[in-house]
């Protein structure tokens, strides 16, 4: 009896989580333009998507930002995780507190605060401002992922390397980096997806000249359901799925 309650509860929640996404994907192959009635199978929305230059441009813009931002965030965040776990320095605690508050603070506050910062600094909103914002919100995720891994192994290893004659950079490059590499890659992939998916922060810090995909989608779906958007969202979902799966296996490696 109890077993059945468990199984049905699990099933129901998984259904709740996945039915909308599956429906979305199924309907991206539906002939009909306006109704949800099944009118036959077609690839035409995917083909039409390929012809939509505006959408492709914004997709390309999103990829660029996500790629550059995630790489920068990964480099800085990895160094940061190393720094906070191996050195004591003034402001270390405040630094830690700020990292966690970035993760917790509502996106919208970050969006408007960065908007005001950029305007006050006299920066034109566009690629640069978007990049800075994305690096900032990806940074803590990289740091926390990598930090967890650094803490997971014996800190004596660093002493051992120092004892054997390694300098600070050599310790980082030869000992720490190879050991945390899976976590670094996972952090990078997560940053990449986060950056690719972000709506709220980007909404405030990008300008009209530099349109990115999530905002393009947002403006399109506000006006109602469009089959091309179904196709586009399906592709994005599969992309995320691939990235998350990879990241998952990278972080899991540590248990071996």
């Amino acid at each position: 009896m109890k077993r059945w309650v468990g199984i049905s509860w699990l099933t129901a929640v998984y259904a709740f989580l996945y039915i909308p996404l599956v429906t979305l994907m199924v309907y991206s192959f539906n002939q009909a333009r306006f109704t949800t009635v099944w009118k036959g199978f077609t690839f035409k929305w995917y083909i039409r998507l390929m012809g939509n230059q505006q959408l492709l441009d914004s997709f390309f813009n999103s990829l660029t930002v996500a790629l550059v931002a995630s790489v920068i965030a990964t480099v800085i965040g990895t160094l940061g995780a190393f720094v906070v776990s191996h050195y004591r320095f003034a402001g270390r605690k405040i630094f830690f507190g700020l990292i966690y508050s970035v993760m917790m603070s509502p996106d919208i506050v970050m969006g408007i605060s960065l908007l005001m910062l950029f305007v006050l600094m006299g920066m034109e909103t566009g690629f640069m401002t978007l990049l800075l914002a994305h690096v900032t919100f990806c940074l803590p995720f990289v740091m926390v992922t990598v930090h967890a891994r650094i803490r997971g192994f014996d800190s004596m290893v660093v002493d051992a390397a120092r004892d054997l004659g390694a300098g600070e950079f050599q310790i980082f490059y030869r000992i720490i980096l190879p050991m945390i590499l899976p976590a670094v890659l996972a952090g990078w992939l997560l940053s990449f997806t986060l950056s690719l998916d972000d709506v709220i922060i980007s909404f405030f810090v990008t300008g009209p000249e530099f349109e990115i995909l999530p905002l393009k989608i947002y403006s399109m779906v506000r006006l109602g359901v469009k089959p091309e958007v179904n196709a586009l969202c399906s592709i994005l979902f599969l992309l995320t799925l691939a990235a998350v799966t990879t990241a998952h296996f990278l972080t899991k490696e540590r248990e071996k």
């Binding site: 979305l24 509502p106 005001m116």
Partner: protein, 284 residues
């Protein structure tokens, strides 16, 4: 030696600088501007005032805030009610199958919330999947309006934030030592007593963490009421967005943001306090 110091100092400086410049400074700007007079040209004037905070208590504005807080409380309770049993059952699934099942929770966690919200639109439209099903099954005569109601907003918020509740809950429930449950049963506790006296107290950190991770973002997800709700469905997020992008009222929008920051700070303070007491009581 110098090379050593150089590496260490560069690494520290870059990180500190980035976080201070793009996290601390912007947040200070929000706080400062919320106390300044509005200016139609330059957004704000250097004249101190607390009028924006008083204005937040104006009945029209206060209604938005209480409404938004109701949404957030409701969403937190709903995700807890759905997520707690889910996390519990998931933590009792066989060791082999658990990683895959956990993965399936993580995938929507990382999928764009916008895309997931949009998927709900397809389901809940007047001529959408749910309505078609209801009509076909004869449960409803004509299309029932779900989309553009409060119900739709709740569904959207729960749908977007459920993984945030499940993951921390699962993390604590999975670590729960099953010998404790056996010991409790052995000492004569009923299932309900085991839950109330052993499982629930030990999973408190997960409940707290999950609630914070649902409650805080639920106030800012402005696109959910935009896409799913009616004209009156508004979150604090929508309110702030309007102040910045429609009215161009930076100081007022900042004051509303300070409200969010305060909610966040107080929730984290409560969390840390509870955790401190929890750790003291659990660890001898």
């Amino acid at each position: 030696m110098n090379e050593n110091k150089g590496f260490k100092n560069t690494a520290i400086t870059v990180n500190m600088l980035w976080i201070f410049l793009f996290v601390l400074v912007p947040n200070l700007i929000v706080v400062v501007i919320s106390f300044l007079e509005r200016d139609p040209v330059g957004f704000f004037r250097w004249e101190p005032t607390i009028s924006h905070y008083i204005n937040l208590f104006d009945p029209v504005n206060a209604r938005v805030f209480t409404h938004s807080l109701t949404y957030s409380f409701g969403t937190t309770l709903l995700t807890l009610a759905v997520g707690y049993p889910f996390a519990w059952f998931l933590s009792r699934v066989g060791r082999r199958r658990r990683p895959l099942m956990l993965m399936m929770v993580i995938v929507p966690f990382w999928t764009s919330s916008l895309i997931r919200t949009y998927a709900l639109v397809i389901l809940m439209k007047a001529n959408g999947v749910i309505n078609s099903l209801l009509v076909t099954l004869g449960l409803a005569k004509g299309p029932v309006s779900i989309l553009y109601t409060d119900v739709a907003v709740y569904v959207g918020l729960v749908y977007s934030l459920l993984p945030f509740m499940i993951l921390p809950l699962y993390a604590v429930l999975e670590k729960l030592d099953s010998r404790l449950l056996e010991a409790a049963c052995d000492l004569g506790a009923t299932h309900l007593q085991v839950f109330a006296r052993v499982v629930l107290p030990l999973s408190l950190p997960g409940v707290m963490a999950g609630s914070i991770m649902v409650f805080l973002p639920s106030m800012g997800l402005f696109y959910i009421p935009d896409l799913l709700g009616g004209a009156k469905s508004m979150l604090v997020g929508n309110f702030i967005k309007n102040q910045f992008l429609t009215s161009g009222n930076w100081p007022f929008g900042s004051a509303a943001s300070v409200f969010l920051i305060l909610v966040m700070v107080s929730m984290m303070a409560v969390y840390l306090l509870v955790m401190k007491r929890f750790n003291r009581s659990v660890m001898p």
